[in-house]
């Protein structure tokens, strides 16, 4: 169980270059995002899906907002949260895919049921795999997709998170989209 203090410590560790902290940080944010998502879904009507961007912002406020996290920490947080969000969504898609095709019968709790439209599961998993390949060519492109698509951040927000100009984000976004579209295109 993580608390805001430990998150701040992890962020501190990240900034200090202790890369081992990254894994723990993602895990912490992952857990927090999931908790927030469940609570949100329980509150909403059945059938609603989540606004990931709101989710990430809310998780940030809860985890880091009370602390005097520096701007830099906030950027780090969102970068990590974007990756965590992708993990949540893709894990969810994988689970769905397995359940749908009679794989191991996994229980899907009701409040997670509508995290993503079910029909997207296949493509999300494929996208996730494609993103890993893209990251091998240029990790930044993959990260832009995490921020824009999975975390739902805007171009300026993504630019803040990644510490580069909006123009760079825009270019990277275009290149990433083109590459992924081609990669995942059926025809």
């Amino acid at each position: 169980m993580q608390n805001p203090e430990s998150i701040t410590r992890l962020l501190q560790g990240l900034r200090d270059g202790r890369s081992a902290a990254m894994e723990g940080l993602i895990q912490a944010v992952y857990e927090e995002l999931r908790r927030t998502a469940r609570r949100e879904l329980a509150r909403r009507r059945t059938g609603d899906t989540l606004d990931t961007s709101a989710l990430v912002h809310e998780a940030y406020l809860k985890l880091a907002g009370s602390d005097h996290a520096s701007w830099n920490d906030r950027a780090h947080f969102f970068a990590v949260a974007a990756t965590a969000m992708r993990q949540i969504i893709v894990d969810d898609a994988r689970r769905r895919k397995a359940a749908k095709h009679g794989g191991a019968l996994q229980r899907i709790t009701l409040d997670e049921r509508r995290l993503m439209p079910e029909e997207h599961a296949e493509e999300l998993v494929a996208l996730d795999e494609a993103l890993d390949r893209l990251a091998e060519l240029n990790a930044r492109l993959s990260q832009v997709v995490d921020c824009r698509f999975f975390a739902g951040l805007t171009v300026p927000e993504t630019a803040e998170v990644m510490g580069c100009s909006a123009r760079t984000v825009d270019r990277d976004w275009k290149k990433a989209k083109a590459w992924l579209y081609r990669e995942l295109s059926g025809g």
Binding site: G47, D48, T49, L50, D51, T52, S53, M85, I89, K97, H101, L115, M116, P117, E119, H120, E122, E123, L124, L127, R133, E136, L137, N138, V145, R148, F149, F150, A151, G152, R171, K174, K175, K177, A178, W179, L180, Y181, R182, L184, S185, G186, G187
Partner: protein, 835 residues
């Protein structure tokens, strides 16, 4: 799958992309000329990504998970949108949310559809959306849900106000199980009427599916969402406007991302009909990828195999609705209601014993009747069969052989059969031939040495005689025409596609029977003109089929014709009185009945004629063969098969007619002189010389259905068969380093081999398999079998090494360098070389 590029290469690609992405389209080429100077690979890669970028549109633009909720969060019951007050949400789908709303001006209830603004983010898309919605709003038909108006909410989300139809969506109805047959056909007919009306007004739905068909309690069908779908191909991920899962209703051309027209709606209606009848989708798979594969490559299980009581006559109708090639589909949806109703009326159709054991089969694809290769000289041989009593063995008829050569410079023109005809009395030959680039009919009395062109028969093909021998019918300029043999202007009989003509026959009562269109059925028309009336519907099961080469028998009531079905040929007899037909012989085509009481036909090995003519005694009254086939002409390998007969028993056949098996690999020098490639024989196609110029690889057609790869050492003149691969191996090409040869391999059941192998290259340009890649080897794209195959040249003949590919959709490649396979996925780059 190997990564196409490494990091350094990718950096170079990105650099060029950064420069070119912001440029207007017309400046890109010039920029690339400079930026990629001398690096064709780089340019190809950048161009491929540019194309992907241009096509990607709003792909990924709607964040994961927020697609619907963002919209839903913006609107609540009670809220006012323009003149409408939202009452409650009544549906949601890929296109957005649907609210029951009240038009406060009229107090009328409407269904208000709200679309996410992200979907129409750019002004171009917005303009297109409005244009299409406006066009759709002009539609006024009982089977189309009326659109009242459209507008935009304060938040910028476009909305459409439409009639609020009380009813159940067809998808909900199907979810409860298959529909009664009459209901299913009725719903399909109503849908077809609505679509026909829209198509007449130039509007294509592009997203016909059960969820878009509302059935009122009175049984009225209302089509909703007209003209709203963008009909994009994959990928669909969170692309607002394309409901995930609709891949099930996508047509092959839609999946391939090609231009889509009204025939896509016809396809989708076929899928819906299939689902209504069987309760399940025709093209199934665990995921979109396998469903996509099924749509592109597989025939659905026959309806009759899945549900008892389905009239057999429904199968050919459905097969035609679900023809992979839009050219072979119903061309107009309004043809469907009649055929559907007729099929339902014929509930007496016999369900074949094979029902229930239907198997999946790869579609036979295009019937490749267009022959390549030089004709090395055509000789018509006349064989006069002596009297042969019915039931007697025709093996040794008294016969006279005489050869009648075509005049120099003429070569026969048309398809594989019926390029010439004999007059009923056997004295006059009429043939379609090309001379100096001009195709015309020529007439030649067999007892004379010269022939003359018949005036007014430009571009004519498939000639046939009138029963009195005074007229000749033919196909030309998209019409069926007739011309007096003794001179006079040709007259039009009816419209008929010329390119796909497959013979016609003129009966004693003035009826002409002809196939119309490539894979349609037989039709009847009066020789004085009129609208052709349908006689047969090809099919009776799954698989592409067609009825060709009719011959009206002397009684005028029986028609001998050829069936092409699922990659195999057969001969059948149609009774004009009852409209029923049955097959009488397998594996032969273009049958002629002779007054001697025999049927003569061409022996077919797979798609291609084997070159042997067969004859068997035939009883026209039963009608059935009354003895077995014997070979009439000696088999001369490939290429000798076209023939004509007279009522009197004269038979004329062509030798050297097709050019198959007659193509040779030759060296051609700059002066145009050619010398044969040492060690090669006839039947060579698609030679490819290694980059170092020391070796050549070519396809050798051994016989119909058997093609091998042969590797020639150009220095010492030796040759060896390259690949021990079973099945057809062809279209080889070298990698730039000369270490590898890529080739196409088919390992289908032998009967389908030629069809499947050729269909990839002939016919459907979208299925084009091969393309030269600039500065590289070749693009290989295989639909019938996933993956690529590679032969390591040092292990020639042994190592057949599938190139690992993660999924089928990656099955397009170019050899670009050492162990590098690059995928080329876009339409433009695939449309290329297809010999």
């Amino acid at each position: 799958m190997a990564e196409p590029v490494d990091r350094d290469r990718w950096r170079a690609i990105e650099d060029v992309l950064d420069g070119v992405l912001d440029l207007p389209a017309d400046e890109r080429s010039g920029y690339l000329d400079e930026a990629c100077a001398g690096d064709a690979d780089l340019r190809a890669e950048v161009e491929s990504l540019l194309e992907a970028h241009d096509e990607a549109g709003d792909y990924l633009e709607v964040p994961a998970a927020s697609l619907e909720s963002a919209l839903a969060a913006s609107y609540r019951p009670g809220q006012h949108i323009g003149p409408y007050r939202l009452v409650r949400e009544i549906g949601r789908g890929g296109l957005g949310l649907v609210y029951l709303a009240v038009d406060t001006r009229l107090g009328r209830q409407v269904a208000l559809k709200l679309l996410p603004s992200s979907r129409t983010a750019d002004s171009q898309a917005r303009a297109r959306f409005q244009r299409e919605a406006r066009a759709a709003s002009a539609l006024d038909h009982p089977n189309i849900c009326t659109i009242y108006e459209m507008g935009e909410s304060d938040a910028g989300d476009p909305y459409i106000a439409m009639a609020h139809v009380l009813g159940e969506s067809l998808s909900d109805r199907i979810a409860r199980g298959p529909l009664p047959l009459s209901d299913a056909v009725d719903i399909a007919v109503q849908t077809a009427r609505g679509l026909a009306y829209a198509h007449e007004h130039g509007i294509v739905h592009r997203d016909v599916k059960p969820a878009n068909l509302i059935v009122t309690p009175e049984g009225q069908v209302e089509i909703v969402d007209f003209g709203l779908a963008k009909g994009r191909g994959a990928p669909t991920l969170t692309r607002a406007g394309v409901t995930p899962g609709t891949v099930a209703y996508m047509s092959p051309e839609q999946i391939r991302g090609e231009a889509v027209d009204h025939r896509t709606d016809i396809w989708a209606l076929g899928v819906v009909l299939y689902e209504m009848i069987t309760g399940r989708a025709p093209f199934r798979g665990e995921d979109d990828q396998s469903r996509t594969y099924a749509i592109l490559n597989q025939d659905p299980e026959p309806l009759t195999a899945l549900r008892a009581g389905v009239p057999l006559a429904l199968e050919p109708v459905l097969a035609k609705v679900l023809a992979k090639d839009p050219e072979r589909r119903y061309q107009h949806v309004d043809e469907l209601p009649v055929d559907l109703r007729n099929a339902l009326a014929k509930r007496t159709g016999v369900i074949p014993g094979a029902a229930g054991s239907a198997r999946k089969r790869v579609g036979p694809g295009a019937l490749a009747l267009v022959l390549a290769g030089a004709v090395l000289g055509t000789v018509l041989t006349s064989l006069v069969l002596g009297p042969m009593g019915r039931g007697a063995e025709p093996g040794a008829p008294s016969s006279i052989h005489l050869s009648v050569g075509l005049p120099p410079g003429q070569e026969l023109a048309g398809s594989i059969f019926r390029r010439f005809a004999l007059s009923p009395d056997g004295r006059v030959l009429v043939y379609a031939a090309r001379e100096n680039g001009q195709q015309r009919l020529h007439v030649r009395p067999l007892d004379r040495a010269e022939s003359r062109a018949i005036p007014g028969t430009e571009n004519a093909r498939d000639p046939f005689f009138s029963p009195d021998g005074r007229w000749v019918g033919f196909f030309a300029e998209e019409e069926l025409r007739k011309v007096p043999l003794e001179g006079g202007a040709p007259l039009k009989i009816c419209d008929a596609p010329t390119e796909t003509s497959r013979g016609a026959s003129w009966g004693p009562d003035g009826t002409i029977i002809l196939p119309l269109g490539q894979l349609s059925g037989l039709f009847r028309v009066s020789d004085s003109g009129g609208i052709p009336e349908r006689l047969t519907v090809p099919g009776g099961g799954s698989g592409t089929s067609g009825h060709f080469f009719p011959q009206i028998l002397p009684d005028g009531r029986t028609v001998l014709f050829t069936i092409w079905k699922g990659g195999a040929w057969s001969t059948a007899v149609l009774q004009l009185d009852t409209g029923e037909w049955e097959e009488v012989a397998q594996g032969c085509a273009a049958a002629h009945y002779l007054a001697t009481g025999h049927v003569v036909c061409a022996d077919m090995g797979g798609v291609w004629p084997t070159g042997t003519l067969l004859a068997a005694p035939f009883d026209p009254r039963r009608p059935a063969l009354s003895g077995s086939f014997v070979s009439l002409s000696g088999s001369s390998g490939l290429g000798e098969f076209d023939f004509a007969t007279s009522r009197t028993g004269t038979l004329v056949y062509a030798t050297g007619g097709s050019g198959i098996g007659k193509t040779a690999a030759v060296w051609v020098d700059r002066a145009g002189r050619s010398t044969p490639l040492e060690g090669s024989a006839d039947g060579y196609l698609t030679p490819s010389v290694s980059p170092d110029g020391r070796q050549a690889v070519a396809t050798r057609i051994v016989e119909a259905g058997r093609e091998e790869l042969w590797l020639h050492d150009l220095e010492n003149g030796t040759a060896a068969q390259l690949s021990a691969a079973s099945g057809i191996s062809n279209l080889p090409v070298w990698s730039p380093d000369g270490e590898r040869i890529l080739f196409k391999l088919s390992s289908l059941p032998s009967r389908n081999l030629p069809a499947a192998a050729r269909s990839e290259c002939h016919g459907d340009p979208a299925a084009a398999s091969w393309r030269a890649h600039p500065g590289a080897g070749l693009v290989l794209r295989r639909r019938t079998h996933p993956g690529l195959h590679r032969v390591e040249q040092p292990d020639a003949g042994r190592s057949l090494d599938p190139i690992p590919g993660r999924r089928l959709r990656h099955a397009a490649a170019a050899v670009t360098g050492e162990r590098t396979v690059t995928r080329i996925l876009t339409r433009r780059t695939l449309a290329g070389l297809c010999l």
